[in-house]
């Protein structure tokens, strides 16, 4: 009897990390990696930076070389979409009609970009999530002097605005939040970034989008509502041809209004909780033999004591590795006689460990690098120290329920940034964290 395959759905950062970890930890049996994009696994953060800028070509984004992928001996299914999962039998359905009965499944399908009604089918309206998206936007922005309106002033919108300005385009950034990135980093860091964008010539608008103007199927403008209606992530759209009073002329529009976890393909199996991502326990397990990792996973963070979901590159790798380890540990422990798991496994079974990372993200805008550890969203208290306004150097501490839970550095030297990680590796009483941040950033 040969072992059933282990399958990883989603062939990007989290999925690849999971597949690699399964091999590193000793799985010698069949390993299937399924991805609906036609490309070999590539990295996303450079899409809104070096790739959009034109300094890197797509080959530069590949996460692993051909030799490294070959060494994993994968049954690699690219351009293949998983369309269903029967959680009880761990059976996947693929869009080519195939079914795959697996010993275990890791779900790493990430998130998909949100769009607005009225935007579909309009030439010149883009999203930025995949390599194909980024190449299309880049092709659209050839030459200089395009009129680009970016809808959404979160991290992605801000990064794209910076690149488009550097390329010499006319850039307007629209968001319902008056201060860019405020939801992620607080108002003072957000204001610092707003100054940086204004200094580089970006026009900032606070408004909701009411609709798009088009001519011959191509976008010609974005209409803003006078008052931002609440809900819908704060961005509303009435579809082409309705509402709106202020009009921003545009030949290109980027929708950067957040994303939706790619859980639709899982259907409504009551075993799986798919509200805001796939709900997992502290071990990244969603159901027996079924694990999740990366942007799609909402798991019980053992230190923060509540379910969290991160759309950060670092988390994708770390969680992919953790899900792989914990799944192997579960399968080894449950190994019934005749399941052939042991035959396909080499070495000592790994130990089950709760996944308790110190979250990390970075963002690059112009020459400013932001780096953050811990939780910066959902803070009830933020204290920002601007070290050098013109140089955009600052440090901020984020608190919740009397404890410091996150820290952000803008433009600080690497040694200091690493020192800050230690401050909030676990929630610390606010006053203590504040002293430690002062000490860590005192020199320079």
């Amino acid at each position: 009897m040969t072992a059933r395959p282990l399958a990883v759905v989603g062939a990007s950062a989290a999925g690849l990390a999971a597949a690699e970890a399964l091999r590193r930890l000793g799985w010698r049996g069949p390993l299937t990696l399924i991805g609906d994009e036609p490309h070999l696994p590539y990295d996303r953060p450079p899409l809104s930076k070096q790739l959009l800028h034109g300094t890197w070509e797509p080959e530069r984004l590949l996460l692993r070389g051909k030799d490294q992928l070959d060494a994993l001996a994968l049954d690699l299914r690219l351009g293949t979409r998983a369309t269903g999962l029967d959680a009880a039998t761990r059976t996947l359905t693929l869009d080519n009609g195939e079914t795959l009965a697996c010993a275990g499944v890791i779900i790493a399908t990430g998130v998909a970009a949100r769009t607005l009604p009225g935007a579909e089918g309009l030439t010149g309206v883009h999203t930025l999530r995949t390599l194909d998206d980024a190449l299309a936007l880049r092709a659209r922005l050839t030459g200089t002097g395009h009129r680009l309106v970016i809808v959404g002033n979160g991290v992605l919108g801000c990064e794209a605005a910076a690149v488009a300005r550097e390329l010499g385009h006319d850039v307007t950034l629209v968001g319902v939040e008056p201060i860019p990135m405020a939801a992620a980093v607080g108002t003072e860091i957000g204001e610092l970034l707003a100054e940086e964008h204004r200094a580089h010539g970006v026009t900032l608008h606070t408004a909701a989008v009411a609709g798009f103007d088009a001519s011959g199927g191509a976008v010609t403008g974005v209409r803003l509502a006078n008052e931002g209606p609440p809900g819908n992530g704060g961005v509303a759209a009435g579809g082409a041809g309705t509402g709106g009073s202020t009009r921003l002329p545009a030949d290109t529009v980027l929708l950067a209004i957040g994303s939706t976890p790619a859980v639709g393909w899982l259907g409504d199996d009551p075993v799986l909780d798919t509200s805001d991502g796939l709900r997992c326990d502290a071990y990244c397990g969603a159901a027996p033999g079924i694990y999740a990792a990366g942007d799609v996973a909402r798991w019980e963070h053992p230190v923060h004591g509540r379910p969290v979901r991160f759309e950060h590159r670092m988390n994708a790798s770390e969680q992919g590795m953790a899900a792989a380890r914990n799944m192997l540990a579960e399968l080894a422990a449950a190994d019934a006689a005749g399941s052939a798991f042991a035959d396909a496994f080499e070495g000592a079974p790994p130990e089950r460990r709760p996944f308790a990372p110190v979250p990390y993200f970075w963002s690059d805008q112009y020459a400013v690098k932001l780096q953050a550890y811990g939780l910066t969203t959902g803070a009830d208290r933020v204290e920002t120290t601007v070290l050098d306004r013109a140089g955009c150097r600052a440090v901020a501490l984020y608190g919740r329920d009397g404890h410091a839970v996150g820290v952000l550095a803008a433009g600080l030297p690497p040694r200091q940034v690493r020192g800050l990680r230690a401050v909030i590796a676990a929630p610390v009483p606010w006053e203590e964290a504040r002293e430690r941040v002062r000490a860590a950033t005192a020199a320079g």
Binding site: A13, A17, E20, A21, R24, D43, P45, P46, R60, L62, L63, R64, G65, Q68, R313, M314, A316, S317, E318, M321, Y360, W362, D364, K369, Q371, P413, P414, R415, V417, R418, R421
Partner: protein
Amino acid sequence: MKITLDADKCCAAGQCVLVAPEVFDQRDEDGIVVLLDAEPPADQHEAVREAAAICPAAVIEVHE
């Protein structure tokens, strides 16, 4: 084990230094990774593999 770096992909996350401080460091100016030991001793191999796996910019390549 031999390590190679594609350092201009580095986004200065510093995770490699946290995992394997005897093998990796960061430049003071911009945080770009610096290789301290391209052929580290066996007791470092596990940490180096972990660093390569975790690096969020796929900078570190390990040749076993």
